[in-house]
Amino acid sequence: MAFFKRMVPALLAAALLGGAPALADEQYFPLQSFRVGPYAAPGSGFFGGFIDYMNLINVRDGGVNGVKLTWSEGETEYEVEKGVEVYQRLKSNPGVAAWNPLSVGIAYAMIDGITKDKTSLVTIDHGRTDTTDGRVFPYVFPLLMNPYSESSGIINYLAAKEGGPDGLKGKKIVVLYHGSPYGKETIPIYDLLARKFGFKVVQIEVPHPGNEQQAQWLQIRRERPDYVVLRGWGVMNPVALTTAQRNGFPATKIIGNVWSNSEEDVLPAGEAAIGYTALTTQASGHDYPVLKDITEQLYDKGLGNLSDRGRIGTVYHNLGIVNGILNVEAVRIAQEKFGHRTLSGDEIRWGFEHLQLSPERVKQLGAENLFHSINVTWDNHEGQGYVTFQQWDGKKWKVVSDWIAPDWALLRPIIEKSAEAYAREKGIKIRTEADVDTVSAK
């Protein structure tokens, strides 16, 4: 009987559609990827991992509750105007779930547009920090870790290394940052942390793309800091490590941020990178069940996205997989509320605003120790991700710390102040909790 009960509406629907084969429900991910240009290595690793995970969901589970995931790519070369063109081109496709451009510049240029479209914009581990404030930015999600949390996580780690909160008193830290919107984002926060912990901070810019750093490292040599925090991107990172070695600055005293933490950053530096430590939100390696599934069900059958199998389980590939998990789980959470069907962008926004994955749930997903947990709420779009630190031994990354929590309470007032200023400038009404459940089905 149950079978017939289920069949009747289906048959009715089929009859109403005039016998045409009913279209399977699909959820579409437009991908603004970059596989050529100076940032091809992070781009191909990240989007490779993201696609691999979505593909795994389709192949292994038959989609999310039967809803197939689809995607198409547009090349941005990490350039803003190309990213905008791809956004304009792909946004008219049906069933757009969320945008993941992996570029602060492109994300900035999309905020107005996606807010009008009511579609989410995910900037995992990066992005504009004040978009953490969901009261002002309902559709923007700097998931896991925004740049301020990253800075706080690094300083907490260094303080613990020096024996506690007072350990950094009187020390000197140089922050070497990429000359781009991404690189400049944390300047005020390091000044604040320096005041709080009592260390002296010197912030030095490396002009994009960063393949010449002799002047900067000469200055670092004069400053004689206790640590150098490397906020690099792409080619800037290996050049920093080799130039440091040439100037006699030990790699063990250099701490990389989340965009200076990949194999592609250290391998070109060779010997100079041994002992270098970097922050990450997701561990590297392929000992996690989800990566085993990807290897067996995709790569062994020729369905994997990376052309080089050796890159499976590298930092960027794993970040892409974690990004896939977060996107897919947001869709799943939204489906529990709105039904197992193609959802609107706004419905998926609701899913992101309830994206709470406890360590137990992360384990169920086969990602235990790959990343810690996430706890997104309507007004906190970052979700309090934990960070960990890994050291390069010349061949692979070795985790050298526990999961560390950034000082969210310290950062929140600054984020709110900046978001409120943005709201005033743009004439945006600040949301309240009541607005969260007003969801557009289109």
Binding site: S33, R35, V36, A40, S44, S72, E73, G74, E75, E77, V80, E81, V84, E85, Q88, R89, S92, V104, G105, Y108, A109, I111, D112, R128, T129, G179, S180, P181, Y182, K184, E185, I187, P188, E205, H208, S307, S418, E425, K426
Partner: protein
Amino acid sequence: MSLSADVPVAPPRVNLRALGLLALLAVAVLVVPVIASPYVIEAILLPFLALSLAGLGLNLLTGYGGQVSLGSAAFMAVGAFAAYNFQLRLGVSLPLAIVLAAATAAAIGVVFGLPSLRLRGFYLAVSTLAAQFFVQWALTKFSWFSNDSASGVVAAPRLTVASLDLDAPQGRYLFALTLVVGITFLVHRIVGSRAGVNLIAVRDDETAAKVIGVPVLRTKLVAFAISSAIIGVAGVIWAYAYLRTVEPAGFNLDRSFQVLFIIIIGGLATIRGAFLGAALIVVFPLLLARTSSFAFEGLVDAGVLKLVERVVLGLVIILFLIAEPNGLSAILGRATARLRAVLRRG
């Protein structure tokens, strides 16, 4: 003395051509906003208009005046940031902000044009590089320009003229189109005027120009001023109407080269060259990407496909320049002449 022989525009049969241009304009104003999709406006027409205008400005200086400049993107940045700051700090209306931005760009243009009084050719090109680097450095270094925004990126204000809201794609398109058409008409008048003839005289032989009484120094500086002002307005369109964010990194040396290539490919010392060149630079890569993704998506590695596209784009540009070193404008001129001959015979 007859001017028309020296000036590529303003040919004898002005009426026919004027009619054609009017028809084109009517289509651009009346038909395009109605039928063009937001994608066509946002991703193709707006960057096309902004880069055409920048090309037009540079063509005045480089094509007509013979002064090579690698600082176009810097003047775009000056225009965009000046308009933003005038609106933010003085609260002036958008049209006034654009005029002030053009004036600011012109002033900076004159300053960096001063070396042109002593330098020529490659040496001048290198000295305009200074403008490129200095402006970008200053805008990044002093966060006052971007209203102390943490990342140096600012969101452009809403586009409103009087009480007219131009924030929709169509509105922004008409805003850009109005500026481009108005300025193109002005440039057309300038190159046909005494000043335009002086400019060409300076380009062709500076010494001879001086001998026949052309005020060389003033002509060069005026060319730098007008050219920079136009490129500054192009920067406003780029930032306000197209990207809607303003950031120094978007106006880097690559953009300067892009504008220079537009006029070389389109045709130096012609007005339509800037438009043809911008069309090739903006539209052709998109067409290529669409075609290749349509034909090969999923079959070839996406990264490899992109690299092949770049090779093809480079080859096409080289072929165009071999076929016609005077650019697309000359090719178009030959094509219309042939068509006219056929029509006359038929």
